[in-house]
Amino acid sequence: MPLYEVEKSTIVLDIGTAYTKFGFTGEPVPRSIFRTQVKSKGQLRSLLDYQDSQDLYDMLVDFFHDIYFKYALNSPKDKPIVIVESLLCPIIFRESVAKVLFKHYGISSLLLLSSHLVSLATLAVETALVLDVGYKEAVCIPICYGLPMINAWQSLDLGSCSIHRNLQSLLYEKNSGAESLSEWILEDIKVRCCFVTKRSRAEQLSLSKPELGPCPEVKYPVEGNSILRVTGTIREKAYEILFDEDNDHLCLPTMILDALMKVNVDLRNQLAENILLIGGTTMAMGFKSRLKEELLHHMKEERYRKLNIKCFKFHASPSKENYTAWLGGAIYGATDWLNTKALTKDEYFEDNRLPDWSDLKYNTRRP
């Protein structure tokens, strides 16, 4: 980046439920990725475990204090900031973020960007179906010519959190004491030992007597005094929760198909051939090939016969999936949007609140 632009670079944040991505506009990689938590009342707490608005406000003050003085090393006053957020972000959270930034830190302007929409910028395309699988939920939104098809969006409570719960109950069958494992140990076991297996193997494993040899077992040491048996079956089955249909016959692949059902017929094929996966959970080994297998399998079902889609194609963004949305924000933030579309201090103090998503002035087409 040229020197004169370094001076102007602005903070870009993507505050995820589990991890926060932090960096500057115009840069290709976030500077840091860290857990979304703050030290509050003497303990580490997740930012999203707030009790009430005052509690959230105090935690956000501490959180942004770390952002500015531990990571950005920059005074916040009279400077802009770019925040990438999910469309499902709770209103109280958005409002509190704006209040803390404008009132407590005195920033000059705030550019809020939708994570699904900006992720497309990393590909330089305008039409794609974006599936974000994060910690708490999976959200699927088709985007056509730069416009999010809000009426077609799908969301399910599937993500790292449900995988961890599944892994925990699988571990508990084989190990006593597994019920007290912390979220971080479960995450570590998932990341280092587990993978998304093939559809054919998953079908066998769900039978009472599978006719295949399991993959090797891993002995996982916990806190230096006990050993957890992570059997081959556990390693392969941890992610299955994403592909098992729930009581309403919904799962990750049906979200994509249901979203396609809700868009215009002549857009369906184009979207199916432009799928973008974002969010850390999609980085698991075997995830993409399994998702494709499942999509093709579900296509045979009666409910999706109308779709008439022959193939599914997936994009590869110039990033790791867990920071694709951040990168989109870093690209948008480097353009003139930062000056023309951001909410300024004066606009905010006019009525002391954020405008709704629907009437945000920047909720329009591409830059």
């Binding site: 404008f102 910028a121 395309v125 794609a128 990341v191 790791k320």
Partner: protein, 513 residues
Amino acid sequence: MSAGFLDIDCVKYACTCGLLKTLQQLYFCRYCSELRCTFCVSHEVDSHFCGKCCENLPSAEARVKKNRCVNCFICPSCRQELSTRAASKQPANPEESKATKRTYYLSCLCCRWSSRDIGLPDQTAATGSWPKRESIHSNRIQEIVSMYKGLQEKEKLDKEFFKKKQKEKIISYTDKTGITAAALRKRIGLPEDKPILKPKNAVKIVTPSKADENIDDFDEEVLTKSINLLEITSIDQRLLQPDVQPKEISNIFPIQKILSIKRSLRCRRCEHNVSKPEYNPNSIKFKIQLFAYYHIPEVRIVTVEPLRAGQACELILKFTNPTQHQTTVSFLPFDSPIEVKEAIPEEGAISQEDSLEELDKSSLTPSKKKSSSGTKLMSLVDTHITLTTSRSSARALSPRSIAESINCTVDIPSSTFILPPRDDAAEYDDFNEVHNIQDDKKLVVWRKSNKAYIKLVVTPNEDMPIDTTVTTGFTMSHLYTNTIASVADNKKPQKFNHNMRVILKLGKSVGLN
């Protein structure tokens, strides 16, 4: 938590913002004469430095270096600082040169990881020569950014052109010659003649990403090969290198250490510093430090009788005057109102501040400059007023109510007591203490130099269960001598009463005997 003489946590002062802090955690703005804490002052980055090698970097340089030290690295395995180790290499051919060559590598003294583990060749210089890695996608992303920038510029031009065009239309319709070419074209159904727009620089459109049908993200080997956990990175190790996020330990790479900063703290109301450190990273001193500990009488709990529900008991507190001026302390009920000064500084206050410029030059704000420039046009004055109000409403934090409930009442004494000024020499003078202070013997138990031991009577609430933490509080009013104004105007020091709420945790209640 038991109430003890050395336990300072059991006495809390309510900051102006409503948070409860110990006296040691509070600041005192001498210009506003109000308590401040780290929550209600504004923080600013003062200087950048490396916490390991203590190198000082100007902030522009720190920014260019991405806030990282060039010479110091942290361990990619355990995040501790890496140390540079020297190794001497024997020349391959002993006859060639007799001098042994010194080479350097990085090693972690905590987890024994070293740069040799990943096959990084030793360096010939101790600092500054370690290879840097760029993201493999940076060129592509740079192209995308320039494309979006260009497209925006084009759109802007389009809009301007459209506006101009509309103007022309209006003019031409009112033209005396009647129908215009554009209107004519419209009438006969021809499309409007749109000239091709030429942005200053043609936008270089990057090739859009192409989606692929074939995915190959499953490694068959995982089904048969057993894994060694020690060779696989944890999520924390991966996230230390966001661009690569290596899965294998063999791919981790030394991380440049993030710089540290020194902060200065500024009062939000008057914009004066309450704390400003010295620039040198080796120095732990401050240029400005307005700790409340130097201005506000300190309260400590000495003894308290066993606390029983509904029974009065005796509480002895020690008060210490830290200032060079005699003060008078009086007690008010806990709930008595405390006046909080307006958020907008008055005109008089500004002129006073200006004369103190040499103390703190950076305190001058744009709006103040405007007022002193002296243009008295009505409209300008108006804008100035809206400017200050919007600014101050932006900056002022509304105080919150105190998050502690009082379950024990204090009999507020009607008499006051005096605390003499601090005299460092008197500390060594154990004998011959003569003071002719007329004390209310019921209130003051004992006194020595600038300290006084005060007896209060407290009564825990009637309905309090056993083993409840007893919390009591009062409003302390002390005569404060402000020397700031006297320095500036050669006036007499201002004296006024400063009130604040003090909350005491006396310990657990016990049963009746």
